[in-house]
């Protein structure tokens, strides 16, 4: 018994089951906010921390698998814990800890789903994500995958009395299921005629290149729909803002990563050797998604929609890195492929921390002010300093600024792009370096988006009088935010150690470990032959020393007199908060520069209007160009089929008769 309990796989499954049990415990007192908030969510956070710890230790442990005798007859559930699963379990556990701590203080009595039920959905969501990562057969995987989709659907529609939220939830459910069908079909192709749906059988199956490519493309469609790759991204900016903030954080920070996990599992593990041109598709799709996401993020006026689009961008960056890894792996450049894959995993981990942090920050703002619209916020750094400064860490990290974590993965990805000119394929080696420019454009635009996000919410003057009564987040919520912020800082400051751990993940997938100089633990130098290095610790130390020395020197040599006065108003003397730049104004250069991306409707007043109105509505071209026609088509087909429903019993009897006769004719 103790033997079984010491195995990481058993521990992980137990912890995941504990999450489910905590969820069901919520039903004991479904209406009690205190029970869910003070007891169950902190317990869930503890489970998360334990899971993160176990997963971190099992990164170096050998692969384990067990078969659980549950499920349908002859279809037991296979579980397997290898280093890839461990890495993503760590991500799940570590991010969920911070989010659960925050959630403990977040949920209040009020409209929508009762807290006990919410607790059930929340923890089932967590547990199902864990089992997605552990599943070792298609049946178990799909079961967990669908549980994840359903539980998150109910979480998204917490405020189900609002029609927009209901329709957002429906869109989410629809696209989740279209994607799930594609994944199921992909598994169907990968079993390769053996009709064994365990992953082990799929690893053994030898597919010919055409079928392998079909399986890859189906998986790309399925997992891409979950990850929000353009053009399957439309659900993301609807569903993520609709959910309560801790749920948005989980969906953006963790759930999107399960799509990455699935893609990695299928491409590098189940299919074995990927063909290099698959990578090109992924790379093009990823880069376009990154650019598309960040451009739309810059034009948003709702803070949670802005973050949702930013998630699309980050998933694009992650998938483009993966595409690069496939190109390298397919052309035999193992070192470059390892570097790109490390960058992908690193960025996934980073994004889990920083995006969760930002979503929780918006949650705190939402609670304090009741506003999601950037046009009605402002100046909150004075009223909510804790939330503001912790959110600033996340914003700087996601903008890819050294010495925080977002920069490390960006750096690694750019370093691997430098290998692109050595790809032994003509033209491809010239086009790929331009991908790096697109990536940098997306990263630099992310900086723009984050300045807008942070500046409009927290800086400047309050745009509404009610904001002056805003209160800072409670101590529990602050702890949750701080957990994630510390994660961002640590991931940024100790890249060499993180990469050493992540190397264990890519080794079983057939990639080489990156060479490291063990003596310089403070230095990130993954490629000794390139003499390239980056040391965030030295960065931070020098900047801090210079800042402190400057402050001291200024005080010592000069004086520290300060006068407070009104801001400079050019002598007009009527400066008010409405004269600040709005969120729309901040998005204007982007709308101007990237006009072709947007479907814009402008309403301009004429000089003679008695009540002049200026309005601009920005919407997604893909929604109008692809989804609305598709929806109309489905409706037309459904209407045509509905003709069968005549509502007369004689007609239905006739149908039965025809069916019987045709079946008989077929059989005889």
């Amino acid at each position: 018994m103790t033997q079984a309990l010491s195995s990481p796989l058993a521990l992980c499954s137990l912890l995941l089951s504990a999450w489910a049990v905590i969820g069901f415990a919520g039903l004991l007192r479904p209406a009690s906010v205190a029970f869910a908030g003070r007891t169950l969510f902190p317990l869930g956070a503890l489970c998360g921390a334990a899971l993160a710890f176990v997963a971190a230790t099992s990164l170096t442990a050998p692969t384990e698998q067990i078969v659980l005798p549950i499920g349908l007859p002859d279809l037991p559930v296979h579980l397997r814990l290898d280093s890839l699963s461990s890495a993503f379990l760590f991500l799940l556990g570590a991010a969920a800890t911070g989010i659960s701590i925050f959630a403990a203080g977040y949920f209040r009595r009020g409209e929508g789903t009762p807290p006990g039920l919410m607790c059930l959905q929340y923890h089932l969501f967590l547990a199902s994500m864990g089992f997605v990562l552990l599943a070792n057969d298609a049946y178990g995987f799909m079961l967990a995958w669908e549980t994840m989709a359903l539980s998150s659907y109910f979480l998204v529609t917490t405020q189900h009395r609002i029609p927009e939220i209901r329709s957002a939830g429906f869109l989410y459910l629809l696209i989740a299921h279209v994607g799930a069908i594609a994944i199921l079909l992909s598994f169907g192709v990968m079993q390769g005629g053996t009709w064994q749906f365990t992953f082990d059988a799929m690893r053994r199956a030898q597919l010919d290149p055409v079928w392998a490519a079909i399986a890859f493309l189906l998986a790309l469609f399925g997992f891409g729909a979950k990850a929000g790759l353009v053009p399957m991204h439309v659900w993301l900016p609807e569903a993520h803002p609709a959910a309560p903030s801790p749920v948005s954080a989980l969906m953006s920070g963790v759930m999107l990563k399960t799509a990455l996990y699935g893609m990695l599992r299928v491409t590098f593990d189940l299919l074995g050797e990927p063909a290099w041109w698959w990578g090109l598709i992924l790379l093009a799709l990823g880069l376009f998604t990154a650019l598309y996401g960040v451009i739309f993020a810059a034009a948003q006026t709702d803070m949670k929609r802005l973050l949702a689009y930013s998630s699309i961008e980050n998933m694009g960056v992650i998938f483009s890195g993966m595409g690069l890894a496939i190109v390298f792996a397919g052309t035999g450049m193992r070192t470059a492929a390892s570097l790109a894959l490390i960058a992908v995993l690193y960025h996934a981990l980073n994004h889990a921390f920083m995006k969760s942090l930002l979503f929780l920050g918006t949650g705190a703002v939402l609670h304090a002010t009741g506003e999601r619209n950037l046009g009605r916020l402002g100046g909150l750094i004075h009223r909510m300093p804790w939330v503001a400064w912790l959110t600033l860490v996340g914003a700087l990290a996601i903008a890819g600024l050294p010495p925080l974590n977002g920069f490390v993965s960006e750096w690694l990805l750019l370093q691997s792009f430098l290998f692109a000119s050595e790809v032994p394929r003509p033209f491809v080696n010239m086009l790929l370096p331009l991908g790096a420019a697109l990536l940098v454009l997306a990263a630099a635009l992310a900086g723009y988006v984050m300045v807008k996000f942070f500046g409009v919410i927290f800086l400047g003057q309050p745009r509404e009088a009610t904001l002056k009564e805003a209160h800072d987040a409670g101590i529990v919520e602050r702890t949750g935010l701080a957990w994630l912020a510390v994660g961002c800082v640590l991931l940024g400051l100790f890249p060499a150690q993180v990469i050493a751990l992540l190397s264990h993940v890519i080794e079983p997938l057939g990639f080489s470990e990156l060479a490291f100089d063990d003596r310089s633990w403070w230095l990130l130098a993954p490629l000794p032959q390139r003499q390239t290095s980056y040391s965030p610790l030295a960065f931070l130390a020098v900047i801090l020393v210079v800042v402190l020395l400057t402050i001291v020197a200024v005080r010592f040599f000069y004086h520290q007199r300060i006068r407070r006065s009104a801001p400079w108003d050019c002598g007009f003397g009527r400066l008010n908060s409405r004269m600040q730049d709005t969120a729309e104004g901040f998005g204007q250069p982007i709308r101007h520069l990237f006009t072709p991306f947007f479907a814009m409707v402008r309403e301009l007043p004429s000089p003679f209007d008695a009540a002049p109105r200026y309005r601009v509505v920005v919407s997604d071209r893909i929604w109008r160009g692809l989804y609305l026609p598709l929806g109309a088509l489905v409706r037309r087909v459904a209407n045509a089929v509905a003709w069968l429903q005549q509502g007369r019993i004689a007609t239905y009897l006739l149908y039965s008769f025809i069916t019987l006769v045709s079946l008989l004719a077929l059989m005889l």
Binding site: L441, A444, Y534, V554, R561, I562, S565
Partner: protein, 315 residues
């Protein structure tokens, strides 16, 4: 790392701190001569900074701590950048802490803090400046990265000291690809340092200004630090240009004679570069804000041309 290395490093930082305002003064002087104006003395930037340090700081009543902290952070990042860039010697201990990509990230950090600080008080000019600054930034960064890419394709590393060592030791080999990227880099330099044709450092005309709009709420020591940081930024950019395109004469050892020679050469290069910048600023006209993207797109295309020349012709 020997004590001498550390000393050389610290001396290098102080040299950059002192040289940066002087270089700015030289550019201003050249520009005044070219425009038939009577030139301010070379030390005018020093005097300006000194005057500002002695003044009382006036801060808007609703300014947050971020506003007061930002000048120090921006100044700190620029000093750190000066420590990384091989302006006199290539074998300094701190240069390993960052490569060219990290350097770009460092400049981005400074830019974000300047912009956030400008948004803090909540005046129309501050936010307007912030969004323009960020716009120029995200357009300039890809072009700058392509420039670095070409240089690192030639030398197979992104570490600036190694790039310049490699380029300097080759017998005056002129790379056509680097010629294209040098043009691109010059354009990025002008845009990033608020020079004509993208911004005009000599005006406070609200419809056109970017850099000045960002600093409008600052006064006294905070303004002094911001101005000093801006001078350092220009100096840093010019030194990056030297390291990439005319690295000859950079000291590869720590011998005092070599260092002195390298220092003198740096001075000569700076004199020429300052005159060059002043000349470009005099002969070109300020662009409208929304023409700036075209300017930077041209810079990007030049860099891509350099890349293609490198990949296609291997030159």
């Amino acid at each position: 790392m020997s004590a001498f290395d550390a000393l050389a490093q610290i001396l290098g930082i102080f040299a950059a701190l002192l040289a940066a305002p002087l270089f700015l003064g030289w550019v201003n002087q050249c520009r005044a001569w070219l425009q038939n104006k009577s030139a301010p003395p070379l030390t005018q930037p020093y005097r300006g900074i000194r005057k500002l340090f002695y003044k009382d700081a006036v801060i808007a009543s609703n300014a947050s701590p971020l506003f007061r902290l930002a000048p120090y952070i921006v100044f700190g990042t620029m000093v750190t950048a000066a420590a990384i860039i091989p302006s006199v010697a290539t074998r300094l201990p701190f240069t390993r802490a960052a490569d060219a990509i990290a350097l770009v990230g460092l400049f981005a950090t400074a830019r974000v803090f300047v912009s956030l600080a400008a948004m803090d008080v909540g005046t129309a000019f501050g936010t307007l400046g912030a969004r323009r600054e960020m716009m120029i930034g995200f357009l300039a960064e890809p072009a700058l990265l392509m420039v670095i890419f070409v240089a690192s394709l030639i030398s197979a590393t992104t570490a600036l000291p190694q790039i310049s060592e490699l380029l300097a030791t080759q017998s005056l080999a002129l790379y056509p690809s680097l010629a294209f990227t040098a043009v691109a880099f010059t354009m990025v330099l002008l845009a990033e340092n608020a020079r004509i044709p993208v911004d005009n450092p000599a005006t406070h005309l609200e419809l056109t200004m970017i850099h000045e709009a960002l600093l409008l709420e600052y006064s006294a020591r905070h303004l002094a630090l911001m101005e000093w940081a801006a001078a350092l930024k220009l100096f840093n950019y010019v030194c990056i240009g030297f390291a990439l395109f005319i690295p000859w004469g950079l000291a590869t050892s720590q011998a005092p004679f070599v260092l002195t020679l390298s220092l003198l050469l740096l001075g000569a290069k700076l004199v020429l570069a300052g005159a060059g910048i002043a000349l470009i600023e005099t002969v070109s006209a300020k662009l409208r804000v929304f023409r700036a993207p075209e300017f930077l797109a041209t810079a990007f295309l030049f860099a891509v041309l350099g890349l293609l020349v490198r990949l296609l012709l291997g030159a």
